[in-house]
């Protein structure tokens, strides 16, 4: 393998005006390609070279691309020599395809070389092939972020202008050779391997070696985003209905010079990529030929590459207890002011996120309780969805999260059974939420003492139906409705003789407003506890003692 960048190699060799020798490896590949049924005559292939299509794109267009194309000695120069051997009409002296200007492929902008430029200095290691160079850049990017991965998937995004270029070349060939007896409409279209697929074939094996993991499932995605501002802008300018956009880009600062924020430019261009695609779809070949220069002009800059990684979310679930009457379940901030001291969501979510080294989190719970209501007993099932974690926590690390929260000074929240779970748990939690029963204990006061008989009779009541109008305290943000709910059972115990205070234990259907059931909400919940006993009843404290759900126990 040559020890210098192959790009420089091909140029050095053509500086003399002649074509390079074809080495054995390249020859074998070229011979195999030429034998492929869909391979066009040599002079046509040479024409592709002369309009600036790179060797790999030629192989793609002719249906001859394979991983053999990683071969470094497969250069424009050696292809030219090979053709020259087989076709006398092609001569190496002053052939335009051997020109020394620094042009990149007129279809792929050199993406298949592979080459690119990135923001900031890029180390070009001399002993490394271009493919390995790119994949080591990718591998370094993954390592820099601190990801620990077991597999990966590769997503490639190319600027829309690449597809436009390919179409231009195809139409160019059709125009020149359309009437030849070897030409069929299938040529250069159906047998063409897409650029993305070719790039994938080139990069994946090398990337697997660099990162020491296999290409496979979707949970860790590496995204290669190629853009070509000049090419995209030129294309945009050629398309009809573009005048509006052009004016917008120019008139921002009253002049036609570039605006300051490069980010803004990039945003405009990616919106315009979908505009380009949509518009091109609607343009027939004939109109296309009239709008575009065929063949396309040579490109002097390669694509810009941005490498980004994203891991799909992981889920950590368990049950929480809320021991404070001044902590809300979810983050509650109105006008920059926090209600209550803290929130369960933030306490749990932040600890989980930090240990998993994630970018963010979403908190999901099976139902909720008011800020002044404690959650006791076996706790309420919850899930924390953690985004883009750098490493998937081990069982020990998960235990660390639980220990940290449980041993915290403030004692607001307790965690039980914390563990890594699959995303299907989220669906399970949402399913049947409305049917799940909840158990409570309320500290209540009555306006007159209750007799033992009354206390006993309460415990006999099973599945009592009540109707609740939307409580006044939530009426500002919920629909005014009447909701039927069921009180499954009740049990009541006296706190102390002569005090009129009782502990009311009850089990109700999901969605029952307990406080309103006790005090009646000005008669809008009926029957209320007070009405049942023909007295006034008030509730001082409420605790949830059981959330009856099967999972995350």
């Amino acid at each position: 393998m040559p020890s210098i960048n192959h790009e420089t190699a091909s140029r050095a060799m053509t500086a003399t005006g002649g074509a390079a020798e074809v080495d054995a490896e390249a020859r074998a590949i070229l011979q195999r390609a030429a034998a492929v049924a869909s391979f066009p005559p040599f002079h046509a292939v040479h024409h592709l070279l002369s309009v600036g299509v790179c060797v790999r794109c030629i192989f793609r267009l002719c249906g001859a691309f394979s991983d053999a194309c990683t071969c470094l000695s497969l250069t424009a120069s050696s292809l030219h020599s090979f053709i020259e051997e087989h076709d006398d009409s092609v001569k190496s002296v002053s052939c335009s395809c051997l020109a020394t200007d620094e042009a990149y492929c007129s279809i792929c902008f050199g993406v298949l070389l592979p080459t690119c430029y990135q923001d900031g200095a890029v180390e070009q290691l001399h002993s490394v092939t271009p493919i390995d160079n790119i994949t080591s850049m990718i591998s370094q990017a993954v390592q820099r972020e601190g990801y620990q991965v077991d597999d990966f998937s590769l997503e490639i995004s190319l600027p829309a202008v690449v597809a436009a270029n390919e179409r231009a070349i195809r139409l160019c060939m059709k125009e020149k050779y359309g009437n030849a007896n070897w030409f069929s409409d299938k040529m250069f279209s159906q047998q063409t391997m897409p650029v993305k697929e070719a790039l994938r074939l080139l990069l994946v094996p090398s990337l697997e070696r660099q990162m020491n993991v296999k290409h496979g499932n979707n949970s860790f995605r590496i995204r290669l985003m190629y853009t070509h501002d000049d090419g995209s802008q030129k294309l945009l300018n050629l398309l009809p209905n573009d005048r509006g956009r052009k004016r917008k880009a120019e008139s921002r600062d009253g002049s036609s010079t570039k605006r300051n924020s490069t980010d803004d430019d990039k945003n405009i261009l990616s919106e315009s990529d979908s505009f380009i695609n949509k518009t091109l779809e609607g343009i027939q070949d004939q109109e296309f030929c009239s709008l575009f220069q065929l063949p396309p002009e040579k490109m002097l800059k390669p694509c810009h590459l941005v490498i980004s990684c994203l891991r799909s979310p992981i889920y950590i679930g368990g049950r929480y207890l809320k021991l404070s009457r001044n902590v809300s379940q979810s983050c509650w901030i109105i006008d920059d002011e926090r209600m209550g001291e803290a929130s369960v969501e933030e306490i749990i979510g932040e600890h989980v996120r930090a240990i998993c080294r994630g970018d963010g989190y979403k908190f999901h719970a099976a139902g909720r309780e008011d800020i002044d209501v404690r959650m006791l007993g076996s706790g309420r099932p919850f899930l924390v969805e953690v985004l883009n974690v750098r490493s998937i926590p081990s069982a020990t690390e998960v235990q660390q999260i639980a220990d940290k929260i449980n041993s915290s000074e403030k004692k607001h929240v307790r965690i039980r059974n914390l563990k890594l779970v699959g995303s299907e748990i989220w669906t399970m939690m949402r399913e049947g939420e409305a049917e799940k029963q909840k158990q409570y204990t309320a500290l209540i006061w009555t306006s007159r003492p209750l007799t033992d008989n009354e206390l006993h009779n309460i415990s006999l009541i099973k599945d009592m139906e009540i109707v609740q109008k939307t409580p006044i305290r939530v009426l500002h943000r919920r629909s005014p409705l009447e909701r039927k709910r069921i009180i499954h059972w009740m049990e009541i115990e006296k706190i102390a003789d002569g005090s009129n205070y009782y502990l009311l234990h009850l089990c109700t259907q999901a969605g029952t407003y307990i406080k309103e059931f006790v005090h009646g909400d000005l008669g809008r919940t009926h029957p209320s506890f007070g009405v049942m006993l023909s007295c006034r009843a008030e509730i001082l404290q409420l605790d949830v003692t059981d959330v009856k759900m099967d999972f995350l126990q």
């Binding site: 204990t441 500290l443 009426l475 629909s479 005014p480 706190i495 000005l522 008669g523 008030e538 404290q541």
Partner: protein, 200 residues
Amino acid sequence: MAEDSAALDAQPLDSSPQRESALDDETRALIVPDAGDLPAFPSSAVEANFARYFVADFLNPGHDQYVYRHPNGLCVVGLAPAHVAFKEEGGITSVDFNVGKSDRSEMKVTGKRKRNAQHLQENSALCKVFTNNTSFVVRCCVKGSLLEINDRLIKQPDLLNTSADREGYIAIFMPKPADWLKIKDKFISYDDYKNLRGLC
């Protein structure tokens, strides 16, 4: 049933393991309060959850009303204890939400955005209360959307006589925050109202 006969003995709850509500010791320890800490008369739900405002002689002598305002902005409107209607022999005998131009009991407010709610002024008529000999017009007192009227009053007007301050409320309004700020200083507190009317 065996369950029933066992229940008739009325065993103390915490010693029987079959009770559905049986809580573990740790939970019980958290829940059971210290009887000594409990006040003899706790605040009522209204006192604890609303700010109570009163207005005396609204547009007419003796037309005393209350406005209970919830922190979420909603206002419950009703007759204050010293309203002149209560002084009539037999008290209030019926309530009519038909105030001429429209029947307030016919509106249908729907959805979170409270569509179809009527926008009324402070002086708009809300309803009419009838006694044996006469009738009194009750006004809105607040400017805003009328969300709900207490239709129980239609079948049970006696609620006004027995608990005008709770189950006998008349209507619920949603004023705009700006509109509330404009009128809130016209009201007086419960204590000031009590003193004004000489109530205990």
